[in-house]
């Protein structure tokens, strides 16, 4: 042995490389395990740097897999005298660690894919459900008894209420002209419950206008961001309508709901309703008029 390695670096018994070699040798065929362990530990001692030792140990792990797969074909003299004394090394001596490692890796990869797929599905489903605004429904605004209307700007004010939206189950948007509690302070308490049919106006000189047939669905104008932010409020806009129910000027906000998004949604609703307003009537004749329109955005808890 002319080129014998003179270094006697003893591998750290607690090192990763040492542990890997012990583990690799144990997975080798039984008749080779002790030999390979001693041989590899001796050769590991000739490696100086930690990286080199680690690479050597990892290579031994791979060598075990190859040796196990080669083993029935290449039977090597056993290191242990007991195994050698048997003479014949049968296939039963072979460890199937290679297959268990491969199968375990396969199951691990498949499991990781399944977990990732499940996570993506559940996350996307949750995101979609929370981002989709609930369906809204509208109800036709009923006329307000004229004697109960306030006389503010030109004629009475009609409250358009978009109440009670449900976020999780499809919410119901209720639109009527019930007087909300957040009506402008300028209105002299005109918002009383609708009178029974018997109390409907019988002598009317002026009937206030309001949303008429074909008025847009208010559900389309509830800002989605406001729904997610659970913003509620009453926005009062002033609309000027000609006898045909069309806007004669751009509606303006006369009382903010406290949310710019809700105010903008109310203005959009008022603009979109042009042509579908019910004009104010005087003695039964439609006339041009301007009146405040209260729009309530409210989420049902």
């Amino acid at each position: 042995m002319s080129r014998r390695n003179e270094r006697s670096t003893q591998p750290d018994p607690n090192g990763v490389a040492h542990w890997l070699i012990l583990r690799a040798a144990r997975r080798a065929p039984e008749s080779l395990a002790s030999r390979l362990e001693e041989e590899w530990l001796a050769d590991l001692a000739s490696r100086s740097s930690a990286l080199s030792r680690l690479r050597f140990a990892v290579g031994c792990c791979w060598a075990t897999l190859v040796i196990v797969s080669d083993y029935p074909r290449n039977r090597v003299p056993a290191a242990s005298s007991a195994a050698a004394a048997r003479g014949l090394i049968t296939l039963a001596d072979r460890k199937f660690g290679y297959f268990s490692l491969r199968s375990g890796t396969l199951f691990l990869v498949a499991g990781l894919h399944a977990a990732l797929f499940y996570g993506l599905i559940t996350t996307l489903s949750h995101t979609r459900s929370s981002a989709t605004p609930p369906d809204l429904q509208n109800q036709v605004v009923k006329p307000v008894p004229p004697e109960k209307l306030p006389p503010p700007l030109l004629s009475g004010m009609t409250m358009l209420t978009v109440p009670k939206l449900v976020v999780e189950p499809p919410p119901m948007i209720h639109v009527d002209n019930d007087a909300p509690t957040q009506v402008p302070d300028t209105l002299p308490e005109p918002y009383t419950p609708p009178l029974p049919p018997q109390a409907q106006p019988h002598v009317v000189e002026q009937v206030a206008g309001g949303p008429g047939a074909g008025f847009p669905d208010t559900a389309d104008f509830y800002p989605s961001q406001s729904i997610r932010a659970e913003e509620e409020g009453v926005s009062t806009v002033r609309v000027c309508v000609d006898p045909k129910g069309k806007l004669t000027s751009d509606p303006t906000t006369v009382r903010s709901s406290g949310s710019a998004r809700l105010d903008e949604g109310a203005l959009k609703l008022a603009r979109a309703g042009s042509g579908h307003y019910r004009a104010t009537t005087e003695d039964g004749q439609p006339v041009s008029s301007c009146y405040p329109l209260g729009i309530r955005f409210q989420l049902k808890k």
């Binding site: 042995m1 002319s2 080129r3 014998r4 390695n5 006697s8 670096t9 003893q10 080779l32 030999r35 390979l36 001693e38 041989e39 590899w40 530990l41 001796a42 050769d43 001692a45 000739s46 490696r47 690479r55 050597f56 990892v58 290579g59 031994c60 792990c61 791979w62 060598a63 190859v66 040796i67 080669d70 074909r73 290449n74 039977r75 090597v76 003299p77």
Partner: protein
């Protein structure tokens, strides 16, 4: 060993290992020595050594030291057999003929 050598796969790495041993056919080399001379990684080197030993081209023995006094495990030393020397020479000769032809 008296084993057949028909199962030896002549890969490039196997040829490099044989070339190291053919430099001095009587020399006994451990796996670490072969790695140092030809640079083959342990994951490839040891299966090759075991295959060649199984085919009867190599014999191996433990290093004659006392592990307790030496403070390290014994090394496994490999050496070409007469069969291995003849077969390895034939392999390289065939390669040379192929190259020169």
């Amino acid at each position: 060993m008296g084993k057949k050598d028909t199962g030896v796969r002549m890969s490039l790495q196997t040829l490099r290992v044989l070339e190291v041993f053919l430099e001095n056919p009587t020399e006994q080399l451990a796996g670490s020595d072969v790695h140092r001379r030809c640079g083959i990684a342990s994951g490839t080197l040891y299966p090759i050594l075991l295959r060649l030993e199984s085919a009867g081209w190599f014999v191996s023995r433990w290093e004659s030291i006392d592990p307790s006094s030496a403070g390290r495990p014994r090394r496994r030393l490999y050496r070409l057999t007469s069969t291995g020397l003849r077969r390895a020479s034939e392999v390289f000769a065939s390669f040379n003929r192929g190259v020169l032809a």
